[in-house]
Amino acid sequence: MSHQPRRLSSGGRIDRDGPLAFTLEGRALSGFAGDTLASALLANDIRLVGRSFKYHRPRGFVAAGVEEPNGLFTLGSGGRTTPNMAATVTELYEGLAARRQNGSPSVDFDLMAINSLIAPLLGAGFYYKTFMGPRQGSWMFYEPFIRRAAGLGRALHERDPDRYETCYKHADVAVIGAGPAGLAAARAAGASGARVVLIEQDALLGGALLSSRTDELQESLRREMERALENLPSVEILRRTTALGLYDGNMLALVTRAVNGQPDPDRGESREVVTTLCPKAIVFATGAIERPLLFADNDRPGVMLASAARSYLNRYAVAIGRRIVVATNNDAAWYSAADLARGGAEVTVVDQRLEVDATLRQLAEQSRLTVETGTVVTRALGRRRVVGVRLAAVDAARERRVDCDLLCMSGGWSGAVHLTSHNGAKPVYRSDIDAFVPGELATGQFLAGAVMGSFRLSETIAGGAQAGSNAARHAGFAIAANPTVATAIPDIPYRVEPARKPRTGLPGKAFVDFQSDVTSRDVSAAVEEGFQSVEHLKRYTTLGMGTDQGKTSNVSAVGLVADLRGLSLPAAGTTTFRPPYTPVSVGALAGRNIGQHFRPVRRSPLHDWHLAHGATLIEAGPWLRAWYYRWAGDTVLSAYVEEMRQVRTKVGLSDVSTLGKIDVQGPDAAELLNRVYVNGFAKLPVGKARYGVMLNDDATVLDDGTTARFAATKYFMTTTTAQSAEVMSHLEFLLQTAWVDLNVQVVSVTDEWAGMSIAGPKARTALELCLPGQDFSDAALPHMGCREANVDGVPLRTLRLSFSGELAYELYVPAGYGIALWEKLLAGAAPLGIRPYGLEALASLRIEKGHVAGLELDHRNTLDDLGLGRMASKEKAYVGRELRDRPGLTDPQRWSLVGLECLEPGSRLRGGAILFASGEPLVGHGRGYITSVTWSTERNNYIALGLYKGGLANLGREIVCAYPLKGENVRARIVSPVFLDAPGERLHV
């Protein structure tokens, strides 16, 4: 174990019996259990933790919590590598491998620091002004260089081996933050019996109490409050859990990190779990964040928040400085200073206020603090670590130097209002505490503690208990009496005066936003250039847009803008905070929905057979379908043509289980069908099926399909695969909102039935071989006939209808019998040479026959556009009828369905090609486009369906199919969309 030069020999919340070895860029270091990566690095006297975003200035830790802007590291290795992790909230673990970022070749020796020398050029809007310049493409040229020079850690392309999870949780009351206010709130709410979830981002409960010395009263109070909660069975405590966002209806998104960020994969642990929590009431006890002060070179390593220095000392037993200057504008920092002095340092308090309270003077005397009032720090000295400061009286120009090795700053405290404002509640400014507090909250939301400007411990605890009681009451739980928690700890006063602005005309930079490298000069430049609204300023300068989201910079920036524009602070406004409160990995948000679980997949009941018999699968909407089979060829291009030939010359079997299937039953079933289809269904006899088309209300085509009547009140509707859910909802909407008097039920049975189509000239012979005892003669089962039968006790529905143009039958059996029937057909018809065919051939066969399908039914085309106008009944009402006659829909120049035949041997037509008249310039959107293309075994040529201006009025005309993506312009002729057997002789055999 290496020596930790800055570690105290006693005190703190670290486990000295639990030493941990870790590395920084391969250098072996040690820390203790209970450390964060930040505290362990500081214990090892490592202060330079990164290079800044734009200027590559050396940077150190500013904070000890989530607000840290500088200390971002790349952690882990291989697929677990995670960039931009704040070391201040990274629990140290054995073997942790950390790397600093944005240094080239290294953070210690960074060539890009030359950016500091050209800094005057890199001000607000630099990128916009320089690289977006008048010459088109200049940004494209410069971007790679800028990306290399700027920025933080790098994402990687390796797969993350860890598991992430998402889940839901329910509670009556959620308490966010386990500081004294949150602990009191959870206790009060839990005592009522309400289910309480207490959410704490830290590994320990206590919030600000954790930064006090472990031998003080605060610690016994903390332990007492923690114990009380652990004894309440209705309270669930979520440690290492951050409330990322607040949404409508009191919904919270939480992320819980594994202990030490080290999940045990053998125990099924996830690295991070995102939880959606919908409590009835929420108590926000999110605390407050200390603000930096603005002075020249306030970003030098060794300049940090006073509260952070206190936390490193008391919680982690790390004494960072021996000669410390504490610069402040408020009372709280004096108490931090007193603790630092008690830790053995020589401390000078520099307070900008001319007068301070007598209690502070007393404290200073007891703690032997040197005090300078009415004084400000004008500049930090040193480069890689601070070596001193320049001080000046607030009203004087003369500066003097004081040496120090740590400069603590406190510009006052800002409530962590972020979450409360996610849902639109604008924070409001309170001048008495120089801070924003949450605005008007939605019902069921309550505040407690520092977030609402309540800084005194006794107030915080009492207010927390009150908020917890109110929340439980809101959730419907009775509160016997408001609980009281007495504490002997004296209250610390909190008085503050707005921080002084940085002096102008001095060398050096005063950073407002450390992470985005935005200085006070950038802010004033932006305001001078007209970016006066805080929201504009933010976008122009990138202020507050880093991973820390400006937790330390926001209020200072608003203060500067107010000053520059001569406005009051509330008039200058504040920015909108958005989720997430702290960075969250994309993996955690995705949870298990990655890879093949990215979205649900639907599988046909025949899926396993396809896989086992050489099918290549393709995604079709949510479905995985058999695309083509290996028997026909090794690539889709060779296979589908072979499969088409199989169907045209012999017999093929295809899986059509994905078609939507809807059972329509009831006395008014015929009436329903007659109203939704454009063609008549009232007189469809039992034992017959009919092709029908449905319209949307606006008269565009919704769907087509076949409906079969198996009994007087029993119909079986099929829809296209793509529109099945839409059609189902459409029918339900009409029946439940408009036609409630119809006595009919519709039920989706898509998953209940396996469907297969047997097609080809030998289809009838095949069925006679496979299903002996049934009569498949043309007389018994004519074209568009249907019947229900029993085969070995299994119901079988047979519909004689054709998508391919060949003699064909669709067979439906309960899904569980799908493979059995499929195999029975293949085995029984083997002597005829039956073969399975896939989706590509299925779609190609229908193109030859001129049947429209999903590619043509895009909710923009009318019946007439698709050549189906004659189907529409003139006798009856049907959905969409009234709006069919709109002038725009009856224009003969609309793009409507045509067939296309390729005129250039050796060339091909392509789906999506833009159609132009012969000889006209190939610019713009043309006169139409190709919807579907196939090689035709009938024509020995490429054929296509498409939409063309004026449609079949152009029959015989030669056109040009332009496909700019491949630079192809191919001549084609407009022909009838029916390429095969126009009279339908093949169907009636």
Binding site: D698, F733, E882
Partner: protein, 89 residues
């Protein structure tokens, strides 16, 4: 997030539902003139505040319902089965 009180299934996450448009508009009778149908299909108000709209519990009981929701705050007041428009309002 919206939670929708389904009259059949109780309060559920809105992702179980599909949105179905303005429920204050009455579907015209078949054969009503083109203008009436045009207005029903294409003209929508975009009110701020309390509003009635159709939702369907597609991943539950498949009931179409009318939901009263404040479009500015997303506060849900109540929901009831869509039913016959004439007897509803």
């Amino acid at each position: 997030m919206l939670k929708i009180p389904c009259p059949n299934c109780g309060e559920r996450h809105y992702t179980e539902f599909r949105y179905g448009g303005d429920a204050t508009k009455r579907r015209p009778a078949p054969g009503a003139n083109m203008k009436t149908w045009h207005d029903y299909v294409f003209l929508f108000d975009n009110p701020k505040g309390a509003h009635k709209e159709y939702w369907q519990h597609v991943l539950g009981c498949r009931q179409w319902l009318v939901l009263e929701r404040d479009t500015a705050t997303n506060q849900v007041a109540r929901a009831w089965p869509a039913g016959d428009w004439a007897t509803r309002l």
